[in-house]
Symmetry: C2
Subunit: 282 residues, 2 copies
Amino acid sequence: MKILVTGATGFVGHYVVQWLVDHDYDVVATATSDEKAKKFAWYDSVKFVACDYYSEEKNFYEFFGEPDILIHLAWKGLPNYMMRFHLEENLPAEMRFLRSFAETRKTKIVITGTCYEYGVVNGCLSEDMPANPTTVYGVAKDTLRRYLSFLAGEYGFSWNWVRLFFLYGKGQSPKSLLPQLDAAIERGDTEFPMSGGEQLRDYLLVEKVAEYVCRIALQDAMSGVVNCCSGKMISVRQLVEERVSELGAEISLKLGVYGYPAYEGMAFWGDVSRLHEVIDDA
Amino acid sequence: MKILVTGATGFVGHYVVQWLVDHDYDVVATATSDEKAKKFAWYDSVKFVACDYYSEEKNFYEFFGEPDILIHLAWKGLPNYMMRFHLEENLPAEMRFLRSFAETRKTKIVITGTCYEYGVVNGCLSEDMPANPTTVYGVAKDTLRRYLSFLAGEYGFSWNWVRLFFLYGKGQSPKSLLPQLDAAIERGDTEFPMSGGEQLRDYLLVEKVAEYVCRIALQDAMSGVVNCCSGKMISVRQLVEERVSELGAEISLKLGVYGYPAYEGMAFWGDVSRLHEVIDDA
């Protein structure tokens, strides 16, 4: 069983590759930088192929050694959710890339989507709700998902679209909330400026996310969209307070410095019933 | 006031150009074929520019003489709603084309959308419902609409997205229902094979559609999406029977020969309250 992982050096990607290596799968890993890949413990246990698939047109299925499963995590330019390149550049490149595998009918295609496909909504979000994205990134991802389902209808391969919610863990972008908090604590700051913190979010540890992505990719029972999240909500304030307490730090939260983003609901979390059908101990 | 009309030789387009000429606007009309354009009465009253904007990259705003309003009706390859070229080829070309005008901030952009953006839904469809398209065409149009709204947010120009429902009238594609009926009557057929005919649809005469598109383009009060339809429902069977009766023909309807398309609801029509706000005698 050969598994191709794109975005292998990314936040989720390097955990996905490590999980697959730990479980003895034959892994082809790709990302743009070989240098970055070399820093990971799994580097010598996989076949790493540096490739910028956005700027190349080729038979990617053959180029990557005819994988049985594609776990496609790459997406350029994140976060920058409101920049037009998501639609203008990424989407056409992504369609070309997927077509390479779809046309062979031989590769299961598994792609990570985003809770931003749902749009500005509140409450428990289930996979069958109409997506109504309001960020450029969300629209591009949503359109790619619909495109994938058309390809699957035409060529008849299995696929999963794994919608990620909020993640945390080691290796996250320094611009994210918890890494910023950690940096502030490390600097010895006495105050941490943040939003009001009352928004309710669904957070999952990145190692768990990576494990679920792999196990969804490896199952055959269900094709289609699946939320990959905790199903539980936590206020951003509580998340931050728990981290402060975990680190035994003394820093006071300066709430309300930043506004809430207009492209997010105030309180939403994922319906995990489908995830639990696929992964019984999730 | 200079108005550029794309798709000028199409079913809606040639009526739009005629309406604008009749109302003394300065019209630049474009389509791929000069030969086809020459057949229309308006040809000598407009500046006609043959152009295949899908295959060219240029400053279209300058190329078309700096129009104040763009009425953009062109879209290649219709109907073929389930073919992938709508997303793979049309969408990137459409985005490039719109950007040319958007970046100048000088052109109001008016584009015809489709009831297929709503997806498989029933009842009265209003503009604020989340779009959930299930045809490739519908997804491509929906994505372009969202892209246009992002462009407008960034550059600050006025725009309208005019969602068309079902149309009839002279000049329609011979593959459409009523032209097929007319042809069967003309051939002297005794039977007309059709679907069950019980689906309820919102039909509007193409001259009315063209008039509304122009008047929406010319108003300044409302930016955004507007349904362009009758707001009334009629069964396809009744529509056909009325046409038979109008022509004084004798032909019996053979109902149930064709199935109902999977990508359409059984009974849907457009909410016209927003249309009525914009056009008081609609």
